[in-house]
Symmetry: C2
């Protein structure tokens, strides 16, 4: 690791910035836990989601994920990156077996309960019961929603893409139902995640609340941005 | 669209929640722009990143992305979801041609400049010049960093996974360098994205600032969570 005190060449006004530089070899030399904390934060802010599934035996399962990613709007597709070796493999097994799962936004009132779902509970324990959240069922879906969540997405599994580089999987589902607090949906379809109090994750274990800075107009080369309401 | 006024069965204390329900057929019936706004917000909070590349002709390119996703820590891998048809195809072409790119966190001071990079500038225009950000070069990498960014990641392209469902691509790179404001890195490796003022995106065009709620200990079935400093 080199510490490089440097002057910014920025045209944008910046207070002085003191950067630490880590090369690939520095990251490889970190101990495992240190590396996991470090690299998981590099991605930037991630969504905090509870993924609900039901096993073929009828057992409900709930697990916190921070790797939900937008794949496309038409058809509406969401991706989920998952490691096969993690405690969350029940989620993957259930998705593969039943084809159904839910993605539920976490808000500040349920953030500790959401994090607690990452504990390795024994088979036969529903994380809903263990952490004090309530399953809620829809006619459309063989998977439980989180009743406390203010934005819940019901999905049907479409494809799992294997990422051979490191044995992870990109699980892709199509959105078949959305339940959302009605005050948060704008006239043009945009949903204000701040109004929902959806939280965001930094790294593995830190949760943040978000305050809106600005919503901008569609950018054009020859026109300044406007702020939308 | 049905509006379902319902009572929450939550054990968690909740004020009354009034949900709107959208089925898959409601989403399919939205006009394109409405659907794009709606579905892009469903994912939850996303990272705001500027991706820097240099073309084989030496032309620098900069584009805002909100689809960076953690793939793994060892080796350290980041993914980026991209549509082939978007203006950001220059980014994909350059990554494929040179194998090098950078991911730079956006903070509140450069959020408008970052959004402006999404305008369709003519070939031969560097978005750095057009929006007033400064390229900065490292010996390790044939791609420009954003000098104004407080967390910059240098990557080497490893694999592009085609997602046949909708023609998107998951571009995966290995992290070969990290430059980060040194005060934001904790002793255990975790990086406080709030201290960096990294911003987060809700939907396509709304930017949010994050305030830390809590960092939690590793969850165990039989032990209450502790808050870490």
């Amino acid at each position: 690791m080199r510490n490089c005190a440097r002057r910014s060449r920025a045209r944008w006004p910046l207070s002085s910035l003191t950067l630490s530089t880590f090369g690939g070899e520095d990251i490889a030399a970190m101990d495992d836990r240190h590396r996991v904390f470090f690299v998981n934060a590099l991605t930037g802010f991630k969504p905090a989601s509870l993924v609900g599934t039901r096993g073929p035996d009828g057992q409900d399962n709930l697990a916190v994920f921070s790797s939900v990613v937008h794949i496309g709007a038409n058809p509406p597709l969401l991706g989920l990156v998952s490691r096969p070796s993690s405690v969350r493999r029940h989620t993957l097994e259930n998705i593969t077996a039943t084809g159904a799962y839910t993605v539920n936004h976490v808000h500040s009132g349920i953030v500790a309960a959401a994090h607690q779902t990452s504990a390795r509970y024994n088979e036969g324990v529903s994380e809903f019961d263990a952490v004090g959240l309530s399953p809620e069922y829809s006619e459309r879906l063989k998977a439980p929603y989180v009743a406390e969540s203010r934005l819940r997405i019901g999905l049907e599994h479409r494809q799992t893409v294997d990422i051979e580089l490191n044995g992870t999987h990109l699980v892709i589902g199509e959105i078949v139902e959305v339940q959302v607090d009605e005050g948060a949906v704008a006239e043009d379809g945009w949903i204000d995640l701040g109004a929902l109090d959806s939280v965001t994750v930094g790294g593995l274990d830190a949760y943040y609340q978000a305050r809106r800075l600005a919503r901008f107009s569609y950018a054009k080369p020859d026109r300044p941005l406007r702020e939308l309401d």
